[in-house]
Symmetry: C2
Subunit: 225 residues, 2 copies
């Protein structure tokens, strides 16, 4: 079965002249986005790779690839106004049937075990979304008040959200709805039930400076193995 | 105003002969619990420190203190059947009026800014609970089904949960209720409104091996400053 990875890096909001977008920050010697791409290529070296980048960043990305002699073949799709539009643009470059992993460019720590689980469940059930339990107490905040929430019923959703390609392509042809917070919510609106699979807790979305340091440490350890 | 820190380390479930309880794992040269105690002592060197440990661990802790020449004065209270009983036992050792920080022994990365915010809000409002936004999508799982939850309404709760001492002592005299998931929920049952303050995202509860490595990295950086 054909496999695709659609790696989404950066929203449309990144302005030129601002600080370096996170996907380009170097850890363990190269930009985060390259680590992420390598993960998928290592998992399956026949995978078709599509990277979605804001239009204003594509020249810079090409230059980074030259400078780092980054030679894993991949297509580049143009980011849209929202994540929905970005994924939509990327999915148009995928042809045929198969399984597509839709992944955040700034999650370089997904494990091959998680990828395997996602793949197998998506083959059988049409979709697979990795999730991990919540290890903190949780509260609901609304109108200045807050109350506890039963965290045992909650899971944190990671990526790659993984789909049978034609199903997710059809789902992304729906009109945009601001309630779409991730790919699972887009598919869900077509009536499909979302299949949760176990994620790996290290698979963080790099958001805070502390995350950057953790990712650096873990990728350096991996590289030196 | 008097200040107290009640540092809760380890539930009752830790069996002798099992792997080393997390609070005793060494990072940056000493047990996590010592880092946590030092945090509070550095924040306010007049703070009264109470460490709650399972009874079976107290001798081992004394020995660790000797071996590491750990000389920050602190009382040791005996852990109970549940976290509720442990905190309850610890609170009995605190006398007078003041502010008490109730903190997880395995959170050695709370910042002094967070401690300051907790202290000030607890002085003014009677309680303060640090919280951080959720950076992942969230789903609710029940009866084999799942649906998305609006994560912008959710916050993750950290410690130190901070209280005016007599208020939390009175709250802990209520009968035990399995719905008590943390100190805030115990106080809340007396009718008090919980005051959320901004936490610091690095203030993780060490739960996974990846957390241990992050904490190690951050504490080593701090030590070498």
């Amino acid at each position: 079965m054909k496999t695709f990875a659609l790696i989404v890096a950066g929203g449309s909001g990144v302005r030129m002249g601002g600080p370096l977008p996170k996907q380009f920050v170097e850890i363990a010697g190269k930009p985060i986005l390259m680590h992420t791409i390598e993960l998928f290529s290592r998992f399956d070296n026949k995978m078709e790779l599509i990277v979605v980048l804001p239009a204003a960043q594509s020249i810079f990305w090409e230059e980074l690839c030259r400078r780092h002699r980054f030679e894993i073949p991949h297509q580049v799709a143009c980011g849209g106004e929202t994540r929905f539009h970005s994924v939509s643009n990327g999915l148009e470059l995928a042809r045929g049937d198969g399984i597509v992993f839709i992944h955040d460019g700034v999650r370089p720590l997904v494990s091959s075990v998680t990828l395997r689980r996602c793949f197998e469940t998506a083959v059988q059930q049409g979709n697979a979304v990795p999730a991990v339990p919540v290890s903190e107490s949780v509260r609901w905040v609304e109108n200045g008040l807050n109350h506890p929430v039963d965290r045992s019923k909650l899971v944190l959703i990671q990526t790659p959200q993984t789909f049978r390609l034609p199903l997710i392509q059809a789902a992304y042809r729906q009109p945009f709805d601001p309630a779409f917070t991730d790919d699972a919510s887009v598919l869900e609106k077509t009536g499909a039930a979302i299949q949760l699979v176990e994620g790996n807790p290290e698979n963080i979305k790099i958001t805070w400076p502390a995350d950057l340091r953790l990712a650096e440490l873990m990728l350096e350890t991996e590289t030196s193995r």
